[in-house]
Symmetry: none
Subunit: 199 residues, 4 copies
DNA sequence: TGCTAATCGAGACGGTACGTCTAGTCTTTTT
DNA sequence: AAAAAGACTAGACGTACCGTCTCGATTAGCA
């Protein structure tokens, strides 16, 4: 966290003051945590950061852009590599749910998705981000393909999409708690399918 | 659509005027279609419906409640029963994507999900609705279990959750077009899994 | 006071229900006392009287008319007749100030004057009422003229107007307390004038 | 009158824009003249001034405060000094009645008095204003005392109060026309009294 | 060293929407 | 026929935010 804005920050000349940027991002995160998405307004962030509204608008053209930068500052959950795809996927989802539950990330991301439903810029940024994450997540599947664990014709990005969809939907419907069994089940279905092969 | 409100509607006594309710729901849908979720306000709906704001607030305590009723008026996509689960699921998702693409339903539902991120009432209503839909969708899997097509230990509701998640996420990220292959792929992975069993 | 409207009054057939009229006037007075003129609305009176708004509008075409009837129910201060005009006028004003101070009458009358500034009906009713009161008050002066106490060419109604004006203005500017000396002074000036006749 | 707001006024920095203040006061006066006190609303003023409602509320906490400032902008009738108190008082009242009749001042002041009956702030402001005016008006009597025209023990402020009361009451009851004789009579009674001294 | 230019906090501006309150009208049901 | 009840359109209330604008102060870098 940056310095608290006890004393007013001044201009540092004809260039961006990083202290202001930090203070604004800190304030945005704090407002989101304390007041939720419905209480998240540029006004509130400016008040909290002791910043002028134009300072915010100068650097972030919209609420969505600010939200996006706040989200980007958060730690990401990284993909495990245990040598076993089932363990990897279950571990990834467990970590992701835990991360969303116990840090502001979950609320920030929910807000970002909501914002993307009314702001084209946010939608585009979210689409980019999500596509990138699908590739990253897909690496787990690619590794499993390389190990021969997964069929070579499997679309790793599509599988990553299914995994991410499961996570997003649980986030958006407040189902992050006590979902360990569901996570295990969903991963197993993707890996092994649900058909009865005895027939 | 109900009658256009050319002449002002009057009270019909000490009970709800269905013409007003219809006009408000019609107007809400129209505003959502024409101005999108970001332009969707109680004011705008009242203007469009030639209704007083208190009339709206009397019957719908929040924007979310109104959105929900607008969504409920829409036709639902029903679950096919072809005797083959793969055909059922693919057909269901194809129909759902088409429905969301070509009617206001998609935008309404997106808006409802967004609203649920900042309104607890909307969140609860959405959770209820989604749970119900998982059961309905799950019937396709139950039928397949009864046919012996699917293993008897499979959790039908969880599978429905996975299917719905895939659809929701595509809706929320504007990926409803040209997804036929992805739909087929995803359904196949759920049915057959992605593991390589030759090993 | 009429019966409290604990249980809803019912229609008594095709004629005016006097209990309703009383309940409405009682409620109007109570609302005025408790919430003041700013809180005095037909809506509030109807709520308090457990009456429908149309019932009020049927009998009193405007807020002003209702106010006027509420005022009319109040006791009036009557004009003393001591055989001495100074005592009569001072006594009258003392009683009037006391009456306005200690009963709802003062607030009701203030409200009526205020209402008359935006409602023509109220203005006309108030004008009628005030003209009548000037005549009544003027009787004190007429009696003094008959006694030879006051010059015969004096316009009794004009004097009554001056006395009433003094009272009204004190009411409207919250100067009803501790004005005994001012009352005595004003009455004396009207009776004896202020000119220095030694010249 | 200030410039018409053909082009939208902008902020002129972190301080009050006098053009907005002027436009708002102009609009308030115009609304009062055209629609009367009953049509006088902050909404109407904002519309007419092409100003935002918050701009009005920022500077005038209540309708009463705005009314008061509108009234303060009006010209005041000043007290004549002819060397003869009767001429002074009659001239003053004639001018005041004429001023109230032919300019918006009369309606504005009536509205202010009405507003003061339901708004404590307006009541206080009006009390202050009226007290000040009594002192100003009282100077006519003080001058007459200095000339020996009026007894030295006469309370000039009380006499001014009587004169003002007469004027206020005529304003509030729409009796500003054809009152010349009444004015003369009232002034004469105050100066000479009404008692018959032949006795 | 003095000027220019961009940045800062600050807060006013015209607006829109919020959710509530009241006005005055209307219709049905009950007596 | 009148009362109770409560819905209806309409619009004002006072507040919160929106995104823009202008200020005055501040400071780096260029002249």
């Amino acid at each position: 966290m940056a310095q608290p804005a006890d004393t007013a920050r001044k201009s540092i000349g004809a260039r961006r003051n990083p202290a202001s940027a930090d203070a604004i991002l800190d304030a945005a995160e704090a407002v989101l945590v304390e007041a939720g998405y419905s209480g998240f307004s540029i006004e509130a962030v400016a008040r909290r950061a002791r910043a002028g509204k134009p300072t915010i608008y100068r650097w972030w053209p919209s609420k969505a852009a600010l939200l996006f930068d706040v989200y980007q500052r958060q730690k990401r959950v990284d993909t495990p590599d245990t040598g076993n795809l089932e363990k990897d996927l279950v571990g990834f989802l467990d970590s992701l749910f835990e991360h969303w539950r116990s840090t502001p990330s979950g609320n920030i991301f929910r807000s970002l998705i909501a914002e993307a439903q009314s702001d084209d810029g946010a939608a585009a940024a979210l689409a980019d981000y999500a596509a990138g994450r699908r590739v990253t997540t897909g690496r787990m599947i690619e590794r499993a393909k390389a190990r021969g664990e997964v069929r070579s014709d499997v679309d790793a990005v599509l599988v990553a999409d299914m995994v991410a969809s499961f996570a997003w939907t649980h986030l958006l419907t407040n189902r992050l708690n006590g979902e360990e069994a569901a996570i295990r089940g969903a991963v197993r279905y993707i890996l092994q399918g649900i058909l009865d092969h005895r027939a």
